[in-house]
């Protein structure tokens, strides 16, 4: 196990190096002149030269990459051009909002997805099975911005059940500790804020959960079906165990392995910033921040943000792998 963990951790190094190279090359691959694009119509030759110098674009590529890597190794992602603020600071100001939204979404997705998957598997070819699989197919292919707007119109505009957008109502005061509003309101025993924060979370989290939910339900179904066909399940049934015990104690435990992987991967994807969901619901997370960086032609922010997200993603992957090995001891380095 130790060897496995060590091996996986070491394999992060070439992965991250590769990512850094890709992220760095992004700015080089953009056709045209980034300086020209940033200054727009009003650029004068002198202003352009000054900006190129400031961005280091006047240096040869290998010098630029060397500088970029040098900073990166010290954990410095540089400064955002738009705000002149440290990119790490900007990210950590916004990442909690994304974490909160992703956690809520993955919780919803896992609970509902697994539930639908298990029922479908245990009642294969029933109406429920067909309906849930069609729904999950729709879930995977539904455009998020469209779904988000439709949910908003139904639940916020017409029914007035939940707020349209944002994280907290104006009239609610909340002392920020972790910047995860739901957690902060619990820590500070602020139940009005708790209710408000959860209320604001429901719609965006549900919207964001649809794709992972569909994936999870499909994987749960197929994994369960596979396990249910195994001999030991028949043995368990034969020795007189109830269906419930067989399904939820014996079958589900073994079916969990691929589900854990999928849930982990989906969570990693969600943490990468749900750009569309965050944009529609005015959710001040990291996805929205990167999108704004793109609009403002803030190449540093886009570079730094992408690097951060990629790192988060590979780290989550690593954790999932280790978890996987822990759940299933048969997994070895090779």
């Amino acid at each position: 196990m130790k060897k496995f963990v060590l091996h996986r951790v070491l394999s992060l190094i070439p992965t991250l190096l590769g990512i850094s190279l890709l992220v760095f090359l992004m700015i080089q691959l953009i056709p045209g002149d980034p300086a020209e694009m940033m200054l727009g119509e009003r650029a004068s030759e002198s202003a352009l030269a000054e900006l190129r110098e400031r961005l280091g674009l006047d240096q040869p590529i290998y010098v630029q990459y060397g500088r970029f890597m040098g900073r990166l190794l010290q954990g410095d992602l540089g400064r955002a051009l738009r705000t002149n603020e440290k990119i790490t600071t900007e990210i950590f100001e916004r990442f909690p909002a994304t974490v909160e939204l992703s956690l809520a979404a993955i919780l919803i997705a896992t609970a509902l997805g697994m539930f639908a998957g298990i029922i479908s598997a245990t009642r294969q070819y029933s109406i429920f099975d067909y309906v849930s699989m069609v729904v999950s197919l729709i879930g995977v292919s539904m455009p998020i911005f469209w779904l988000g707007l439709v949910l908003m119109i139904i639940f916020s505009v017409n029914l007035g059940l939940v707020p349209l957008s944002g994280r907290l109502s104006y009239n609610i005061e909340l002392e920020v500790v972790t910047n995860l509003y739901v957690l902060d309101s619990i820590i500070t025993h602020n139940w009005a804020a708790f209710k408000d924060a959860v209320w604001h979370l429901i719609l965006p989290a549900f919207t964001l959960s649809t794709i992972p939910m569909a994936t999870i339900s499909r994987i749960t179904r197929s994994s369960m079906l596979e396990v249910l066909r195994q001999d030991y399940i028949r043995t368990a049934r034969a020795k007189g165990l109830s269906l419930w015990v067989v399904h939820y104690k014996h079958a589900l435990k073994n079916a969990m392995i691929p589900i854990i992987t999928v849930v982990g991967l989906q969570f990693g994807i969600l943490l990468g910033g749900a750009i569309l969901t965050e944009t529609i619901f005015a959710w001040p997370g990291i996805g929205l921040w990167i999108l704004n960086g793109v609009y403002a032609r803030d190449f540093n922010a886009v570079q730094g943000g992408t690097m951060f997200i990629a790192t988060v993603f590979v780290t989550i992957n690593l954790v999932v792998d280790i978890l996987y090995a822990w759940v299933n001891p048969r997994i070895k380095v090779n």
């Binding site: 045209g32 009003r42 916020s156 707020p163 104006y170 944009t279």
Partner: protein, 539 residues
Amino acid sequence: MWKKSFTFATAAVVILFLLGGLCLAASPKTGGTLVFGRGGDSAGLDPAFETDGNSFMICDNVFDQLVLYADESTEIVPGLATDWEVSPDGLAYTFHLRKGVTFHDGTEFNADAVVFSLGRMMKNKNVKFFKKEWDFPEDQPSAEYWLSMEMDDMLGSIEAVDNHTVVFKLNRVEAPFIANMGMDFAAMVSPTAVLKHGKNFRANPVGTGPFKFVEWIKDDRITLEANPDYWGGRPPLDRVMFRSIPDNSVRFLELKTGNIDICQFPNPEDIELAENDPNLNLVRQAGMNIGYLSFNHTKELWQDKRIRQAFAHAINRESIVDNIYYGLGTVAKNTIPPNMWGYNDDIEPYAYDPDKAKALLKEARFHEKLKAAGQEKITLWSMPVARPYNPNGMKVGEAMQANLKDVGVDAELVTFEWGTYLKKQRTQPEEMDLFQLGWTGDNGDPDNFLAVLLDGMADPNVRTQWKNEEYHDIILKAKQALEKEERIRLYRKAQELIHEEVPLVNIAHSLVVWPMKQRVMNFKLHPTASIRMHNVWLK
């Protein structure tokens, strides 16, 4: 008799109503929170270093400049300076400062604060304090607007003469200087706060303005509260909240459901919905910008003004504004927008007249010249992106292409990725015949359009590179004229010359239309696009 008394009674009632209305209009109600829905968050809140509208709209309410723009125009009116004199040679501006004004943190606003606020952006720091209470902060970001308005070239020194008098010495006579002093970058900041917060002043702004900064939750909202001691009188609103709601449709839904009071930049199709909604009002303002089509003036082909006039007649600008701007624009007859002083309303716009265009082209032997240049068709460069002055460069290009086809001119549409487009255009390449571009004004001074866009003799950075000695002469004189009447006369003349010579075809000025709740009173959009909440109140 009965009829007469009826008339009297009616008149009396009408008068009473009018008086009542006047009283209501004249007495704004104090209190309440206004929520302004906008498309994005501010980058920072230090007016010296910001470049985007979302940052300036906060600065506009937290800070003041020595001079301000009038409520609904770009006329210069007193701000933190009560009055000012210009020396007879036009090289020295003496500002007399408003007394008894303090920054939100209690720091006194005085001549040294002026020297500090502006001197910190100055390259050579050629300044003189009166008492010298503060040193300049080090390691600052570059002050983009200060640089782009050429303040370092223009300004020789800033000197505090006494506690309430500051003298600006200029290196050259430059009438637009006073308009620059009304721009956001020239706002007065509290020196104590700048030194206390350092780089974080951008998140902790302290000015003298009608509202004080309270809180900033990044990408979510910025909250301001009324400054009860404002020198211009306490604003009626208690609080203003600027919420970032990036999606246009959602922002409009937030307005419809009553969660925000004003919705910035709605989708064009939502404007119609707002128009029919009894709970909403629309506020309109012509944008201080111009979208234009210009010629490659370095090519022989475009030297004959009859050809350029023909193109002005060939393009159906009404149709472009109706169909591509969705009516959110006005056809431009001058290069400067109509809400700017010096606008020449006597100009008769070029009518859409394909026959006349054809006749002019024939008269100028356009096709022969084209052939002689070895070309079968011309190129029409169109930008690949939406700009404030043009919602869709390519679509406008296609419409122009069709218009030109109608007068027998084959035009090939050319575009590049935006950065490349700007870079290539700058070099006026041989393969470029016509190009679309535009401009958004900075300081409300006609010089900021007429010199920047068309005086190619003065500056190689001018995009059109039109070189006309008479024009250059007029613009230079207008820059150096001290009397405004004289400047107006000269700019009117410049516009006549542009109209006659057609160095560019003026297409449109965009129009800004925002829906807001009925309860919002006295909210006006300013031509400079600044958002001022000082006199706004809630019914």
